[in-house]
């Protein structure tokens, strides 16, 4: 288990600033430090088996008035598109989704880019706002952006996706 680096810690802090009450996640080695960091803070966690399931659970919690987020990987959006379109967007359920990106520098999988590279366009075609956090952005920007995105999703009653760069915990680009 790798601990969160400064950027991922900032993401966790940003969700704390918003007052996150619960999160739904689909397991990912890249997002693991975020998932474990939120659990360590005592935030209620629900593990979903598929991304559309996560959208349903998080959307239900949002309609019940909870501050809830999804943590997942960007290659799972293919599973989630119908749920995002017909439920989360159409029923105005407001929650942020934080998805680590795959297929970029440091990637070890030969084919994952074939879905991950298309994800921003797919989401935009569904009228889902997409924000980006890269390793060149400062941890301060990660924290403030995370808070602002979560707040905006709740105010606009829409899912908003943040795609964040998180290298595999086993890799080091230094």
């Amino acid at each position: 288990m790798k601990e969160a680096n400064a950027h991922l810690k900032a993401l966790i802090e940003g969700l704390g600033d918003w007052g996150l009450e619960a999160f739904v996640y689909v397991p990912s080695s890249h997002s693991a430090p975020v998932i474990r960091g939120l659990e360590a803070r005592g935030v209620k966690a629900v593990m979903a088996n598929r991304e559309e399931e996560a959208v349903g659970i998080a959307g239900g919690m949002a309609l019940a008035g909870k501050k809830v987020a999804i943590v997942m990987q960007d290659n799972g959006f293919g599973n989630a598109l119908t749920a995002l379109g017909t439920f989360a967007n159409s029923y105005h359920t407001g929650f942020p989704i934080f998805a680590n990106t795959r297929g970029g520098l440091g990637e070890y999988n030969s084919m994952i880019h074939s879905i991950s590279e298309s994800v921003p366009d797919l989401l935009k075609r569904l009228s889902i706002r997409v924000e980006n956090l890269g390793v060149s952005d400062s941890p301060e920007v990660w924290r403030s952006s995370t808070h602002a995105v979560a707040k905006l999703a709740q105010i606009q009653r829409r899912p908003i996706v943040t795609l964040f760069e998180a290298l595999h915990p086993g890799l080091d680009i230094a």
């Binding site: 349903g56 749920a83 105005h92």
Partner: protein, 188 residues
């Protein structure tokens, strides 16, 4: 042998969940329900097949009172991975009712795999408290049992095949349905 039509089962459910949040699966189920009862506490999912039980689980995790889900065998099969999630996290305030007619009645009456496999047995095998029934009286008493249970429960109800004729399309605005539902929960 099934004894009730879908709309007869829905009338029992409507009476038993008259003031509780109820998530309703899409297609003919949502249309038939809306033809005789529309409440702010109803959340019909107009086109999200496979998502009814996940949404109900999310609501039950965020709300303290009883929550009901009306799912179908076809819809549950489309998102069958929710069953282990229910077993792992299912809160005791959640009752999932699966109206099982062994067919995708909203999709040209194609036979569903529930005709050939025991989906209630799968739920039981996962350790979920599961009831099975065929009559309105048994459905009513099972809902009462479920509301008094200390765990999530799934009630499988065998219903007759087909749809009630003459039911109009349900063309509500989902944004309005979502807002009314959220407001109803907030005021409780």
């Amino acid at each position: 042998m099934a004894k009730m039509t879908r709309i007869e089962a829905l009338k029992v459910i409507d009476a038993e969940f008259a003031s509780d949040p109820l998530v309703i699966t899409c297609g003919a189920t949502a249309r038939e329900f809306a033809s005789f009862s529309r409440r702010p506490t109803h959340l019909p999912l107009l086109d999200s097949m496979g998502l009814t039980t996940p949404v109900g689980l999310g609501i039950a995790l965020g709300y303290t009172g009883n929550v009901g889900v009306v799912d179908g065998d076809g819809s549950l099969l489309m998102g069958f991975s929710i069953l282990p999630t229910l077993a792992a996290y299912g809160p005791k305030n959640l009752t999932v009712i699966v109206l099982d007619n062994g067919q995708h009645a909203s999709a040209d009456l194609f036979e569903s795999q529930a005709m050939h496999v025991n989906i209630a047995g799968a739920a039981k095998g996962l350790g979920i408290e599961t009831y099975e029934c065929e009559t309105g009286d048994d459905l009513k008493s099972n809902i009462a049992r479920s509301k008094n249970s200390n765990s999530v429960t799934v009630i499988f109800v065998k219903i007759l095949q087909g749809n009630t004729p003459g039911i109009p399309f349900f063309l509500a605005d989902p944004a309005q349905l979502g807002a009314n539902f959220a407001d109803a929960l907030k005021s409780k």
